[in-house]
Symmetry: C2
């Protein structure tokens, strides 16, 4: 049984704990929050939980072996670092870290300390995502792709009222690319590899982060166009173009519809995909596979692939952010 502690007491933390418990491989044992009442309010429904209001106490809990970190983005790095130094595995909600330097330091430190680091990019852990990955090499050459993930954030109302909620703040490493764009970029990098070049066209908000943007990821033989945004709603589907037809996807996260239209035969091949009600169960299972089998070479290889994927996505996003002139506090360290 994995003994889980959590940092963050919002809806996504709750969803992760429920997913983790549903696998029957994790048990929540500790909750950190700056305020005890907040920690208790979050933890009471989960039974016998320890509460901590300072990180030293939290990471000092000996029976906790793995920590899920879902604090504001800019806090992930110091918390993950402290956790790793305390000998804990760390599962860090995406986007795990603000800069390639932070990412590299954490990966190196986790290896040194012989603990595990996971970026919780849930879409790449979906069974549906793997179904698509396995489908790709069965068709003709890829000619291009269009991926979209754009959804209005209710917290943008606060920005319009002159406030600066964390998710729209450069102090907390927020913005459309960091929060939503990272999913289609993960999809592109997981399915096609790290792009050779990238171009990000973003519209910045008064807070300094991007509200909406279009990215073009350039590969040797094709381009992937990505639409993202947190100040508007899009219902656009996603598509991958092949020499011999087009794969239509409802999205590149929570994939629940995938169908290949073959031009020559005019036949549509429907792929067997579905999305779970709790989209974090599959990643929780994947992480548990590694945590419970640290010395299994096959699991070790999967782990290395995810780590290098996280690194490639982080480097890609950092370059895009630089192109768009989005400067985080984390850049100034």
């Amino acid at each position: 049984m994995i003994h889980l502690g959590i940092i963050g007491t919002n809806w996504i933390t709750d969803q992760f704990v429920q997913a983790a418990h549903e696998t029957k491989r994790y048990q929540l044992v500790a909750v950190y929050s700056r305020k005890l009442a907040t920690a208790q309010r979050f933890g009471e429904k989960y039974g016998d939980i320890e509460y901590a209001t300072d990180l030293d106490t939290f990471f000092g809990l000996a029976h906790m072996d793995t920590v899920y970190i879902a604090s504001p983005n800019s806090l992930h790095f110091e918390q993950a670092k402290q956790g790793i130094l305390a000998g804990k595995n760390v599962i860090v909600e995406k986007p795990a870290f603000s800069t390639p330097e932070e990412m590299a330091e954490i990966i190196e430190l986790a290896n040194q300390q012989q603990v595990l680091f996971f970026e919780a990019a849930r879409n790449i852990h979906e069974a549906s995502f793997s179904t698509v990955a396995e489908f790709l090499p069965t068709r003709g050459a890829i000619l291009g792709a269009n991926f979209s993930y754009m959804k209005y954030s209710s917290r943008y109302d606060a920005v319009l009222a002159g406030e600066e909620p964390n998710i729209f703040s450069p102090h907390f490493s927020g913005g459309a690319l960091a929060d939503l764009g990272v999913y289609p970029i993960y999809a592109a990098v997981a399915w096609f590899g790290k792009p050779q070049d990238v171009h990000y066209f973003a519209r910045k908000l008064p807070t300094g982060v991007d509200g909406i943007g279009t990215a073009v990821l350039r590969y040797a033989d094709f381009d992937v166009t990505i639409q993202t945004g947190k100040i508007a709603d899009s219902e656009l589907r996603s598509e991958i173009y092949f020499e011999d037809g087009t794969l239509d996807l409802n999205a590149v996260n929570a994939i629940e519809e995938a169908a290949f239209y073959e031009r020559k035969t005019k036949q549509t091949q429907v792929l067997a995909v579905s999305a779970l009600e709790n989209p974090m169960i599959e990643e929780a299972q994947d992480f548990a596979d590694i945590i419970e089998n640290k010395n299994d070479p096959q699991q070790g290889q999967r782990y290395e692939e995810w780590v290098e994927l996280a690194r490639s996505v982080n480097e890609t996003v950092a370059l895009m952010r630089k192109q768009a002139g989005i400067v985080f506090d984390a850049d100034k360290k």
Copy 2:
């Protein structure tokens, strides 16, 4: 009655003649083709037609006042020039001309000769297109847009077989942008004005023209992303993002579905739009309005707007083509 001559004997010419006749304001009087048999085969169903196999004879036909030119793109310029010098109005199928120099010369020459030049960009003449144009200023500020027009061309089969059909040839000013991309660019320039900047990411074919590409048109406050291609099929819809909601369109040409989702009220407002079975009737009507009322100031203003729109689109496309390294024979003149 407008006495119409045509250059080109393919399906699009047929569609235009049928559209023109349906308005009851045009009468086909002459057909040009290099081969008499081809001209006759095309014209016989239209009754009493004159046939010409050389352009001097064709443009010398005194009772023909207006010419529709749908030859391969690279031939438009010399044919339009000859027609204008012979005192004919010229309706030139899109893309009218290969370079801004050609476009400027034709516009100037038509003014000098007091005849009319129209680029047959049919989508901007649709009633549906105007309905959308009128809708735009009724909502909040525009935050962005995504327009798609990508369709596999059966003539690409010939390219794959090592041939070079005109529509995929730089000798004939072909390619995805020239043939299909021009429609969404027309939509963007007509609805939002000429972009301040443009970026075109294209994939070139062995023939030297673009087979598929993504463009980002940058405006003062938002970006328009455009997907086009002739080597793959896309079913992506088009969207315009506003501060207060999203306008969903089935496409930006032959618009037959348009609905605005208002975020605050969660209400969808369906716009009354429909596409005609023959998509060229509306442009034929528009051109006839001008031709029949050359001295009406209001019609003159509409005409000037279309001419300047054609110029802006041509300049935008030329810049995009240059960025993508697509060189036409027409560039070398």
